[in-house]
C-alpha cells in the first residue's frame, strides 16, 4: 500500500494494521466448513461404495446394471458423487494455493481443477441418472 506521495509505508505497519479492514481472503470459514461436512458424509458413503464394488468385482454386466439402477443405490451414488467432488475441489485447491507461488499459474491450476471436477461430477451424475431411469 502506498500513501498520497507514492511512498511505501507497509514496513512501518504492524501485521494486524495491514490485515485489518481487508476482510477474509476468500470465504475461508465456508471453505473449511464444507470440507468437514463433506468428509463426514463421505465416512459412511465410502464404506458403502467400497463394500459394493468389492462385491461387484467380476460380476456380469447385468448384475452391475441391476445394482446401479436401484433407487436406493442410485440415491446413494448421487450423494457419493456430490460429496466426493465437493470435497475434492476444496482439497486440491488448498494444495495448489499452498505450493504454487506464482499467482497466475496458481489461479490457472485452481480454475482447471474446478472445471475438471465439475465435468467429472456431471458425467458421473448423468451416468447414474441414465442407469436409474433406463432401469
Amino acid at each position: 500500500m502506498a500513501d498520497a506521495k507514492g511512498l511505501k509505508i507497509d514496513t512501518m505497519r504492524s501485521f494486524l494494521g495491514r490485515a485489518r479492514g481487508l476482510g477474509i481472503a476468500s470465504g475461508g470459514v465456508h471453505h473449511w466448513w464444507m470440507q468437514r461436512l463433506t468428509s463426514l458424509a463421505l465416512l459412511p458413503l465410502t464404506l458403502w461404495f467400497v463394500w459394493s464394488v468389492v462385491h461387484l468385482a467380476g460380476a456380469p454386466y447385468a448384475a452391475v446394471r441391476a445394482w446401479a439402477s436401484g433407487t436406493v443405490h442410485a440415491t446413494l451414488l448421487l450423494a457419493l458423487i456430490a460429496a466426493t467432488f465437493e470435497h475434492m475441489h476444496l482439497g486440491v485447491q488448498v494444495v495448489a494455493e499452498d505450493y504454487i507461488h506464482t499467482k497466475p499459474i496458481q489461479v490457472a491450476v485452481v480454475v482447471a481443477v474446478k472445471a475438471a471436477t465439475a465435468l467429472l461430477a456431471l458425467a458421473a451424475t448423468i451416468a447414474v441418472l441414465k442407469l436409474a431411469i433406463a432401469g
Binding site: 468437514r36 468428509s39 462385491h55 468385482a57 466426493t84 475434492m88 482439497g91 467429472l120 458425467a123
Partner: protein, 166 residues
C-alpha cells in the same frame, strides 16, 4: 528455548524447536521479537519454530504430507470411478473394455494403490475431525494415534483385497 548463540546461515542450526515452548530468555536477535507470544494465562513465552525440512524431519510431517498426497492421488483416482459409472451406463461393450483394463497388471496396481491411499486418507481424515474438536492433541496420544492410523490402513487395505479374492 535458549538463544544465547546464533549461527546465521549455518547448516547445524541451534534453532531446532523443542516440543515445549521455553521461558522467555534474553534476546540476541531482533527477529526473536516476532516469536514472542502469550499463553492463555498471560505469561510471555517464546513460540516454537514450526518444523522445516532442512532442519529436521519426522514421521508426523511425512504423514501430514501423505494426507495431501493421497488426497491428490484419490482425486486422480475418481476418473476410474467416473469411468466405471459411464461405462455401466453406456452398455455391455463399454463395460467390457473397462473391466478388461482393470484386469491388466497396471489396472490391479492402480486399484491397489487407490485402496491403500483411500484407507490412509480415511483414517487420517478421522483424526483430523477429532483434532477439530480440540481433542487428542497431546504427544502421548499422537504417538498412539499415529500407530493406529498406520495399522488400520494396512488392515483395511488387506481386508478389502481379501474380500475381493475370496
Amino acid at each position: 528455548m535458549r538463544r544465547e548463540t546464533r549461527h546465521v546461515g549455518s547448516g547445524a542450526s541451534p534453532r531446532i524447536a523443542p516440543a515445549v515452548t521455553g521461558v522467555l530468555s534474553p534476546m540476541t536477535d531482533i527477529r526473536d521479537a516476532q516469536m514472542v507470544g502469550r499463553t492463555s494465562d498471560g505469561r510471555l513465552v517464546q513460540r516454537p519454530l514450526s518444523g522445516h525440512l532442512t532442519v529436521y524431519i519426522n514421521l508426523d510431517m511425512v504423514m501430514s504430507v501423505g494426507h495431501r498426497v493421497t488426497g491428490c492421488a484419490l482425486a486422480v483416482g475418481t476418473i476410474v470411478m467416473v469411468w466405471f459409472l459411464v461405462a455401466a451406463a453406456s452398455g455391455e461393450a463399454a463395460y467390457a473394455t473397462f473391466s478388461w483394463w482393470l484386469r491388466t497388471p497396471i489396472g490391479y496396481l492402480a486399484l491397489f494403490g487407490w485402496t491403500a491411499a483411500l484407507w490412509y486418507h480415511y483414517c487420517v481424515g478421522i483424526r483430523h475431525l477429532i483434532w477439530d474438536t480440540g481433542r487428542m492433541y497431546d504427544l502421548p496420544t499422537v504417538d498412539r494415534s499415529r500407530l493406529v492410523i498406520l495399522g488400520a490402513t494396512a488392515v483395511l487395505t488387506l481386508l478389502t483385497w481379501l474380500i475381493v479374492i475370496l
